[in-house]
């Protein structure tokens, strides 16, 4: 592979990456999930406390159940109803991106979503309860309908606003009053649209939009995304993008996050109810078992390999610089300093190691050897080992990372050794040149 080919490829990749990154919808989606993030962390902390492994030894079963009940409201109020925040966020940020009043866009998106939500709880074999919203419709199960509805609602709302079909107030009316009137017609138009949709679906087809979207869109997409093949492709593309110096996650995540986050939510719901985790692959699987090992490409092991076994000054310097940030999963020093970017000498371990580790992790978890991440949100900057234990609520989760760390180290070792030898030779020659010119 030569430099010209690299440059040609990166000329093709850069605009694609830019388009994906700058796509209005993907940007709005990213911001909307960010809105839910602090709430998710709050809920996660409560779940972690309620499930601390030693609690059953120091507490009676009764008081443990009371504790779980007291803390259980925290995940229910945050992750349990995450679709609400995502829907509001999409409505808000989408309107704002069109420079239309955001907060009304958010409220209208939320109302539109609720218009499609059945206010009835049907449990098999029992009489339907009226006037309640089943919690899971506002959480994982309603996620895709929520996203689709919020984008549609936001688009209708802003189009009506931009067409200027609003009620104009005479000068002198307080701005807040004028604003609420300005949103009136767009709101009525948008909500009417969803009301009609709901009437058609419920009255004519005798079903509801939640079930339609869940069965036709969400279940198949999420099923596909939770498979090992899709996951490996995502990892592969991320590594390739970074190899060309582009931020792989920003690009891949904007496509995969809706699926991965939904899987996480389903995991957490099941975990808090039954203690079982249904999906191996989820947002945490990706974050903790790939990025959470020293950054993209799991380079903390590379840093250790260099510090322990390599001799060339240039590599040592990069590794020293990369160690501090690397512990917190920031690894730009390695990616651009070693460098990984456009470096044909490291492309093999750079792509191979994360794929092998992902496969090993998947097998370890699907075989039941190590519990999969239970959906508790762990920030991606939490160091290796600690984040593995936190995400799985088990020591095994941390130990698996240690095994993975060693796998990365072994795969990289021969390649690093080769570069080291080359560097040493160069450094020696430079030293000789310097000595010659000095004498």
């Amino acid at each position: 592979m030569n430099q010209a080919l690299f440059e040609k490829l990166s000329k093709i990749l850069v605009p694609i990456a830019g388009k994906l990154n700058n796509s209005r919808y993907l940007q709005v989606l990213r911001d909307a999930f960010m809105l839910a993030f602090p709430l998710t962390i709050f809920g996660s902390i409560a779940v972690v406390i309620a499930n601390l492994p030693f609690l059953d030894k120091v507490m009676s079963e009764n008081s443990l159940n009371t504790l779980k009940e007291m803390l259980g409201v925290a995940p229910n109020a945050t992750m349990g109803v995450m679709t609400i925040f995502v829907v509001f966020g999409i409505g808000y940020y989408l309107s704002k991106s069109y420079e239309v009043e955001g907060v009304f866009g958010g409220a209208i998106a939320l109302a539109s979503f609720l218009l499609l939500t059945p206010f009835v709880l049907q449990v098999e074999g029992k009489e339907a309860v009226q006037g309640v919203i089943p919690l899971d419709r506002l959480g994982a199960k309603g996620m895709f309908l929520g996203m689709i509805t919020a984008f549609t609602a936001g688009e209708i709302y802003r189009k009506v606003v931009q067409k200027n079909i609003t009620i104009k107030m005479p000068a002198g009316v307080p701005p807040a009053v004028a604003k609420s009137f300005a949103a009136l017609i767009p709101a009525v138009v948008t909500l009417t649209f969803f009301l009609v949709v709901n009437i058609i679906v419920t009255q004519i087809f005798k079903t509801n939009m939640h079930d339609v979207i869940y069965n036709a869109v969400q279940a198949p997409l999420v099923g596909l995304g939770s498979g090992i093949i899709a996951t490996m492709i995502a990892i592969f593309v991320t590594q390739i993008l970074w190899f060309f110096g582009l931020h792989g996650q920003i690009i891949i995540n904007s496509v995969m996050d809706p699926i991965w986050n939904t899987l996480s939510l389903e995991n957490l719901n099941a975990y808090t109810k039954t203690g079982e985790v249904p999906h191996v692959v989820s947002k945490q699987f990706i974050e903790i078992y790939t990025v959470g090992m020293g950054g993209t490409g799991m380079t903390l092991a590379v840093i250790f390999a260099i510090l322990l076994f390599m001799k060339s000054k240039q590599m040592k310097q990069v590794a020293k610089l990369g160690l501090g940030p690397g512990i917190f999963n920031v690894n730009e020093p390695i990616i651009f300093g070693l460098p990984v970017v456009m470096n044909p000498l490291v492309i093999v371990p750079w792509i191979l190691a994360p794929m092998v580790v992902t496969l090993v992790t998947y097998l370890a978890m699907s075989s039941g050897l190590v519990p999969p991440p239970n959906g508790v949100a762990v920030p991606w900057t939490v160091p290796i080992f600690i984040n593995g234990i936190m995400a799985t609520n088990s020591l095994a989760g941390g130990l698996l990372q240690v095994v993975n760390f060693l796998i990365v180290l072994v795969i990289w070792f021969p390649f690093l050794k080769f570069i080291d030898r080359m560097n040493l030779q160069k450094e020696r020659e430079e030293g000789q040149d310097a000595a010659k010119s000095a004498s």
Binding site: V14, N21, G245, L321, V330, P333, V341
Partner: protein
């Protein structure tokens, strides 16, 4: 007073470079305000800057940021990859100065 804005995905990886650049500016006795932000804030923060430097992993932002930067008449460029990787404060600081000089 030179005001240099660095932008990357979330402002985390460039913050290391910020410290190094500040150290360098201080060592040569220049007064400089250098700060890092994520891509979402970059457009807003630009109003306060004399020059914008983008982390190489976000090089695809250049076109978009450049459009915005024209409003303020400030230069935008991608940080040199090797200098970025080695967190070479001196080199990146000089890159910023050179861009500002080109104005």
């Amino acid at each position: 007073m030179k005001r240099i804005l660095l932008a990357c995905s979330s402002g985390m990886s460039t913050s290391l470079l910020v410290t190094k650049m500040q150290e360098y500016a201080k060592s040569v006795g220049e007064e400089a305000e250098i700060w890092a932000v994520g891509q979402d804030q970059a457009k807003k923060e630009m109003a306060k800057a004399d020059v914008v430097l983008i982390g190489p992993q976000m090089s695809f932002l250049k076109g978009e940021l450049q459009k915005e930067a024209q409003k303020y008449g400030i230069p935008v460029d991608v940080i040199d990859m090797v200098a970025y990787g080695m967190a070479d404060g001196k080199k990146v600081y000089e890159q910023a100065l050179k861009l500002m000089g080109d104005k």
